[in-house]
Each structure stands twice: as C-alpha cells, then as structure tokens.
Subunit: 438 residues, 2 copies
C-alpha cells in the first residue's frame, strides 16, 4: 500500500516537473507552509527546486528555504540565478547569510557577497553578474562559440559585450549581428560602439524609465570608470515596474506598502493602524478648526451642512492634481525646474474650478435656504478651497521630491489635511464675518 | 547667407539622425507644433520620420501626421512597424483612414485594416503581424537563413514559430536553439511543442500578467482555431503595463485618464470638471444627511466638531481597503470566488480598527468636553463607520468587477460617498438619540 502511494507521488512529481517553474512557484505559494516545504524537498531531490524559488516573492522563498537544513539550502542557492539568490539572501537574518556564504564555493560566495553590497533599489541590486564579455579581436565565429559555451550560465545570450583589457565596456553585439554576418569578421568591425549603459548606483525607477523609453531587452551595468559589472534584463524590469507602481498607489492612499491581498488579517491590522493613527492626528487638526468656530455653528447650524461639500470637493480636486503630478514625476515627465510651471497651471485651474463649482455650490446654498449671504459664503469658501487644493496638490509631491522623499508618500493624507482645515476655516470664518446676515 | 543657414541646418539634421528614435521623438514632443511639423518634414526627406513617430504617443503622432500632405503621410505610414502604424491610424478620423488605406499598397492596406479590426485593448490590438512562420521540415540552417531574410521586416527574430499547412501553430524555436545546434537538424526535432500562446481577444491586462509571470520576450497570438496571427513583444507590454497602472491610479482618484502633466490647462479644465461635478452630486448627498439633522447640530454644536474625524477616518480606512483590493485584482491575485473571503477579512479588520480607533476618538471626545455620552456617541459612530468603510472598500471594487467594469473606476468617490453619508448618519443619529444627555 505504502508502495502504491509512493508510486502515485512519483507520477505526480513527474507531472509537476513538466510545468513551467512560474507555475510550480504558484503551487508552492498556494500550499500550507508544511506542505510547501515537503514539496520543495521533493523538488530538491529532483534538482528542480532552484528555478521555482527564483520565481517566488523573495520574502516567501526565504521563509520556505529557512525550513530546509543548511546543506540543502546552500545547494539550492548555488543553482539559482545569482540575482534571484541575492534577493532571497537579503530576506534572511545576517548570521544565516554569513553561514551560507561560508558553505558556498569561494567563487560563488564572492559573487553573491559582492551583489549583496548593492542597495536593492539600485541597478546593482537588480543586475545579474553573469554576462558575456568578449575581447574586441575575436571573430564572429569565435564569439558565437563563446556564447554557446556561456549559454548555460549567462542570464541572456542575446547580447554580448565587448570589453578592453581593463574590462571597460567598448561595444555591444546582438546574437542577431553575429549570426547574420560572415564568420571571420572581427567583432571590432561589427560591434556598436555607442552603448547605452546603466550606472550601478542608478535608481531602479530610472532603470525602468530607460527600458520603457528605448525598448531594449537588456542593458549593461557599469561602475563609475565604465567597467562592465553585469546586466539588467527586461523581465526583471517588468517586476520592478509593477512593484514600484503598486508602492506608489499604496503610498498615495496612505496604505502600508508591505500588504497584499493574501496578508493574514492580524498582520494587516498591525500594518494599517500606524497609518490610521497618523490620519487621526490630522483629522483632529481639522476638528480643532471646527471647534474654534463652535459658537458660529450653534448660531447658524446650516453652515455644518456645507462642511462636507466644501471639504469633499477640495479633497477630490486636490487628489486629481496630486495623482497627475505624482504619476508624471514617476514616469519622468516632470524635469526638475519644470515643477513650478505645473504649480502655475494648477493655480489657474483652481481659480477656474473655483468659479464654476463655487457658483454651483453658492447657488444651491441660496436656493436651499433662500439666504443670499449663505450663498455668498458658500461660493467664496468653495472657491478659496479649490484654489488651495490645486496649489497643495502640486506643492505636496513637488516638495516631497525636493526633499528627496517619495512624491507619493502619504500625499492623500497631507492633501486632505490642507483641504479639510482650510475648507472649514474659509467656510466657518466667512460664516462668522456674516453671522448677523445668516 | 541663406546658404550658410541651410548648411548649418544640414549639419544639425545629420547630428539628429545619429540619435536614437526615442530621443528624436522626445524632441518632436517638446517643440511647438509648427516647428515639430517642420522637423518631421525634414526627417521625412531623409526617410527617417517613421521610427520617431512610432516612439511617440499615438495621439500626438497622429496630430503631427495630419499636418503633412496625404502622400507624405502615406509614405511614412508604410515605413512604420504595422503595430505602431495602426495605433496611429486609430487616432485619425474615419474618412482620413479610408483615404490613406486606398493610397497604400494592397498588401499593406489589407494588413493594416485587419489590424484595425481588433479592439485596441486586446492582444490583437497590441500584436505585430510580422512574425516568422516556418514549416516543420526545414533544417536549422534553412531556418537561420529564413530568419536572416526576415530580419528587416519581422518584429523580432529571436523566436521563430513552426506552423502546419493551415498555419496552425505547432512549435517554437529560439534563435539560440537554432544557432547552438547542428545545421542539418530538422527543426521538428528541436522545436518546443508546448507553446504558450495568447488568444487574439485576450485583454491586455491578461497579456501583461502572462509576461509578468513567465518572463518571455515575445508571445505568439493565435485565433480560436490555433492559427498564428502575430506576435506581442515584451517592450509593447511594458508600455501597456505603465499605461494600465496610470489609468488605475487616475480612476482610483477620480481623475481623467486622458490627462498628462503636459496637457494644456483649458483641456485639463474640460476633462476634470465632469469628475468634480460627479463628486459634487455625492457631496450634496452627504450634505443632505447633515441637513436632516440640522436641529440636533443647533442644540449640540460639539457634534459638528467630530464630523471631519468620523468621516475622514472612515475615508482613509476605506481607501486602504479599496487600494489593496483593486491592486490585487489588477495583479491577478484575487481569483473569482475568492472575493468574498476578502470581504470577511475586511469586516474583521473593520471591527478591530473600530474598537481601537473608536476608543481613541471616544476618549478624546470625553476628555475634551467632559461629557461621557459625547464620548460614547463618538466611539460608536467611529466604530460603525470603520466597519462600513472596510465592507464598502471590499464590496465596491468586487462589485465593479462582477459588473465587468474596471474595479478602479471612481472607487474613491463611491467610497467617500459611503463613508461620509453613513459617518454623518451614525454620528448625528446617535447624537439625536442622546440629545438630552449631551
């Protein structure tokens, strides 16, 4: 009986091994942790654990790997692509990483610890060091041979880079150039010398924009002396773009960037509460403005009716601006210095919105209560707040960028703080001025 | 003198032609329209106008192309990649398109009008028909020759597809497979038969997720009978991902998806006003709830102080949920049917948030005014509204998806409608119940 079970399991793992590593990774993610570890161990015995782990979220993969014994983990890591392995190592405790590096072959350990020294959100943190570097005096035929030998190790064999004696990058060749030329041509004669490179300390957002703009499959990464360090491929960039966009959306909304839909509820609770408390502080600020005008509200309760209109419209208009400006910055469409022109545009728009929407709100207030002064107060408060909303919507992300912070950071919370407090101040302050007429 | 000017211009255009088309496209975008048309015409004379136009936003490229005479436009279009050309045509008026198609060579016209028949947000709208399709009985050497011949026209020569007599896709080969094998091997023996394909009517979001998951450089597009129609390449997918993410962010914030940072202010005004009026409608709804309780506010003005706290906290907590759920759906992490489990989680979180934040708000209310009943009213209103916020935050995007609409569509406006109206209802309704004690 036990044998038949084992037979069945054997068939299943054979079935599984025919799948794409990305699909095996999905299965690993969907399983309970103990089941996932069990499956990973069986994949390991078939030497098939490295690729699926490389496809998983590094944090998740690290959690599974930590459940295996140290020798199993080391062997799996040495079979992974170095750029994936290093992402995984970055999620493990420092002493575990040191222990693993000691157990690895010296060459591998050196490569990985070098990669670990780059910040994860830079080109260095994204690149693979497994790149084909050729001397310029090779022929096309020799270069194809070199690529063929490298085919297993290298991240991509669609580009080969040509370097001088100091490993400084002097040219690039595509496999296409090599295949579609005479075999004895020296590669010096067919290489492209105007190579677009990425500095090793470039921000990943910057790297993503370069790929987005030029449509390359891979870009070489160089140090400040132009020496070839590695290669960034377009598939890694897609992951970066999706992750950066997710982060921007979350930050705009004041949601915790670590959370995903499958985060357990107790962890979600711990992650979200700090943001809610931060928002609460700003809400109390708005409340204190209202509190300062408690006397006016007691006399003219109708003013309270317009509080959500003035504040809500300001918040919506301001969020339009914040979103457009923040996204423009992320897509590289707002060069430094051009920011203030945007502020001018948003101020102008705020005035236009203020006249149009303000007139509507003022008319509604007048028609509702039959009091022209209430209409005037609502009109002016709405108009002032829409101008403030447009200005704040541009100034908040631009200021965050100028302070070298992420322009998306909690922008909605800052914005609604401005539009709520100023909105109430305009409405209730004007109400106090005209209190005898209302 | 005029000659020297012309000499200088000649040097400048030579200089420009050495640049990457993406950079020329940026220059065209930055110029005033008449200058851009002038430059485009000079590029056209050098047969160098097609590539930069293909790199521009289709809408912008179409505006420039419309300024040239019809013959110039037709010649440029016939030199563009068909997938770029069709994006551009889609922005032109119907009769201009028909006129252009009549002037094109028959083969080109047929190809473009076929492409025009696919919806822009499907794989068909994204694909290039220029794909290398080979019969299975070719040898590796013959296949490389075929690729070499196709090198100029085809979108990518890194993959070749193998088809049967009915052009049904039966296998795929990478250039790497072909180069690194014996020249006389029949491609039938080295092709991969488990080809991942994209249906021609697949949504672009779906296509993007497939690339994101499997890390391919290109995927073949097939009709419902498995016949090869074209190819989607990873660089087009990056553009799609960025555009879809931008759209989601805009929709979440209630901003117009057509706007960019460089949209002229009068166009921005026209685009944003409908959203602001839509938001105004919902703000009036919230105001009418407050209006219904005007009497209570007149008696207990302190209640108005807590209006921004109850509504603002509900809005922030709800936006956290909306953002996380919407993004989860966009990334393919919320399978149909799993949605209701998310609602359960968010309800639970809403109760927890409600207890913690509600207690803080209640305590603040009590300490401020020294009235325990005001504390109780604030506590309960905050708690109820945070539960409602969590529920609405999950239900709104899930319902939009179930209705086959975009889950991000105006989510923040719907959400704040719920959290404002219910928040005021809870606060002022409870205030009315306890009015004698406040």
């Amino acid at each position: 009986m036990a044998e038949r079970v084992r037979e069945k399991e054997k068939v299943e793992i054979q079935e599984l091994l025919r799948r794409h590593p990305a699909e095996i990774a999905e299965i690993l993610s969907a399983l309970r942790e103990d089941e996932a570890v069990e499956l990973l161990r069986r994949l390991y015995l078939k030497r098939a654990a490295a690729a699926p782990l490389g496809e998983m979220e590094p944090e998740e993969a690290a959690r599974l790997l930590a459940e295996l014994n140290r020798d199993e983990a080391v062997r799996i890591l040495s079979r992974m692509d170095p750029d994936d392995a290093v992402d995984l190592l970055a999620e493990l405790p420092q002493d575990t990483v040191q222990d693993i590096l000691r157990r690895l072959e010296e060459r591998e350990a050196k490569e990985l610890s070098e990669l670990l020294s780059y910040k994860p959100d830079t080109a260095g943190g994204l690149m693979s060091p497994e790149v084909v570097a050729l001397p310029a005096d090779m022929t096309a035929q020799e270069a194809i041979e070199a690529l063929r030998r490298a085919a297993e190790g290298a991240e991509t064999v669609y580009y080969a880079y040509v370097v001088d004696e100091d490993r400084r990058l002097i040219g690039v060749l595509s496999l296409r150039d090599l295949v579609f030329t005479k075999p004895d041509t020296p590669i010096r004669d067919i290489m492209h010398t105007d190579v677009l490179t990425v500095p090793v300390d470039a921000d990943v957002e910057e790297v993503a924009r370069t790929f987005d703009k030029y449509n390359f499959l891979a870009l070489p990464v160089v140090d400040k002396d132009g020496r070839l360090l590695g290669i960034v491929t377009v598939d890694d960039v897609i992951d970066v773009i999706r992750a950066e966009d997710t982060e921007d959306m979350y930050k705009l909304a004041g949601a915790p960037v670590e959370e995903r839909v499958d985060t357990p509820w107790y962890r979600s609770l711990r992650l979200r509460l700090p943001w809610l408390y931060f928002n609460l502080l700003t809400a109390f600020l708005a409340a204190s403005v209202v509190g300062a005008f408690e006397g006016v509200i007691a006399k003219v309760a109708a003013l309270a009716i317009f509080m959500p209109v003035i504040a809500g419209q300001g918040g919506n208009a301001g969020m339009q601006t914040v979103t457009i400006v923040t996204r423009g910055i992320a897509l590289g469409e707002v060069p430094k210095g051009k920011g203030w022109r945007l502020l001018g545009k948003e101020l102008l728009l705020g005035i236009c919105h203020g006249i149009v929407i303000g007139a509507t709100v003022g008319a509604a207030a007048y028609l509702w209560k039959g009091n022209p002064y209430l209409g005037l107060v609502a009109f002016l408060a709405m108009m002032f707040n829409l101008v403030a909303a447009g200005a704040a919507g541009a100034v908040i992300p631009l200021t965050l960028r100028a302070m070298r912070l992420d322009p998306a950071l909690a922008s909605s919370i800052f914005l609604t703080t401005v539009t709520d407090t100023l909105g109430f101040f305009f409405l209730l302050g004007l109400g106090m001025l005209f209190v005898d007429k209302l």
